[in-house]
Subunit: 257 residues, 2 copies
């Protein structure tokens, strides 16, 4: 894909993050660009993780994979230095979360491979434009096992948005246009059918769902983070939700129709 | 749209109908071609009917409209003589069904305009290929009023297919590819929300719906036939369900992506 010139707004926003000047106010994030979930793993485990993503594509769609040791995450964000350009990072040692930091330059390793995965914030933009979401989705872990690869194994995570029946139909149409970032939902209605307790999201409280609304569930890239944590590399660094990587790719550029 | 050469299978099948040799066995209908609902009205009422179709596009998508007095229904079936090439016809006088006939040559009028409307048998083919329908749909009239135009007024009719939740998602994706023939569904789940009593289809009995299945409703061109009957022209001739017009257009040629 040919990329358009980087938006000055994106460049300026990245500069704010790099210099740790961004407050974390999402209203300041340039809208309309593909967002990515980011993980860094040692090269020794990268092959298995790549295969895990391939076998769990709905949840873990790969947008780009870096060269080994390169701080450039890939062609969708060629000006990014992944060591400084996320708002914050989670650091896991042997599968345990040990700290959250704003810069990982001191932790960088020459054997790191950086993975950028599709995130539902991408189609959230299209859903918002279609008027079918309130932007108050929740993340849940289901009882559905993801396809395991080696030590990478976990249950599927999903994002949930509640909406009326006509909006469910519209949301399926809108999100199916974005197969690289989860595509259409994997389930709606009955949360218990996929082992979800609506009162127990991974973040936040029980969502407000009106009587005429139906919960709709999309596969979520948190699945890949959970699998990587389970695989317990000596060092794993991930994005710190909800602070994704802002890529240069306009959301509509990843629509397949 | 450029049309491919007419399939010899289609030509042979039409010849059987024209000579009243077809038994009505649907297994013999060439598969993979767009099917149409057909109505013939006096020119004096054609303008209002055209507007009714435009204002109720989800139900009454126009595939083609003939020249006044021409027995050729339009570019999607240029070799058809509409007076002989349907299996059977319904004849309405002043809104009352007076007879069913296999040939309307003796009833033909120089002021007739022939309308061909998109029919869900078109996407039924795509749904069957996707493995999400049993082909035992039902037609219902809802309590939702269609947008009236002059004397053309009725409630919206729908076709219903029952399927599991993953297949609802797949069916919405598949049928949204065919906006000229109803596109995505207008409703699913709660039949009562659109005034449908599942035990009272327009044709056939109560459908078999398994515990894990959801009824899904698509707008139906029966809406246009009902409106035309309500408008009560002195002479109205329509197709006789389920015997649609077989056009030359491959189903996939009307897919928008």
């Amino acid at each position: 894909m040919r990329m358009p010139p980087v938006s000055p707004e994106v460049t300026e926003f990245r500069q704010q993050i790099r210099e740790q000047r961004w407050s974390g106010d999402f209203a300041q994030v340039p809208s309309g660009f593909t967002m990515g979930t980011v993980l860094m793993l040692p090269e020794a485990m990268a092959g298995d993780f790549l295969l895990f993503c391939q076998r769990n594509q709905r949840a873990a769609g790969l947008l780009q994979v870096s060269e080994v040791g390169s701080p450039v995450p890939g062609p969708l964000a060629p000006d990014v230095d992944i060591r400084t350009d996320l708002h914050s990072y989670r650091v896991f040692r042997d599968g345990e979360l040990v700290e959250r930091v704003a810069d990982i330059s001191h932790l960088w390793r020459e054997d790191f491979v950086t993975f950028t995965l599709g995130c539902s914030l991408t189609f959230e933009h299209a859903l918002t434009q279609a008027g079918v979401t309130r932007g108050d989705g929740r993340v849940y872990q289901t009882s559905l096992p993801a396809t395991p690869v080696g030590a990478f194994r976990t249950n599927l995570s999903v994002t949930m948005r509640a909406m009326t029946t006509p909006n469910v139909i519209r949301a399926i149409q809108v999100t199916s246009r974005f197969p690289a970032t989860h595509g259409g939902p994997i389930h709606f209605g009955t949360p218990e059918a996929i082992g979800v307790d609506m009162g127990e999201p991974v973040f936040g409280g029980r969502p407000a769902i009106a009587d005429d609304e139906i919960p709709v569930f999309w596969a979520c890239s948190a699945t890949a983070v959970d699998a990587a944590q389970a695989a317990a590399p000596d060092l794993l660094i991930t994005f710190d939700p909800p602070y994704m990587l802002l890529t240069d790719q306009p959301v509509e550029a990843s629509s397949v129709f």
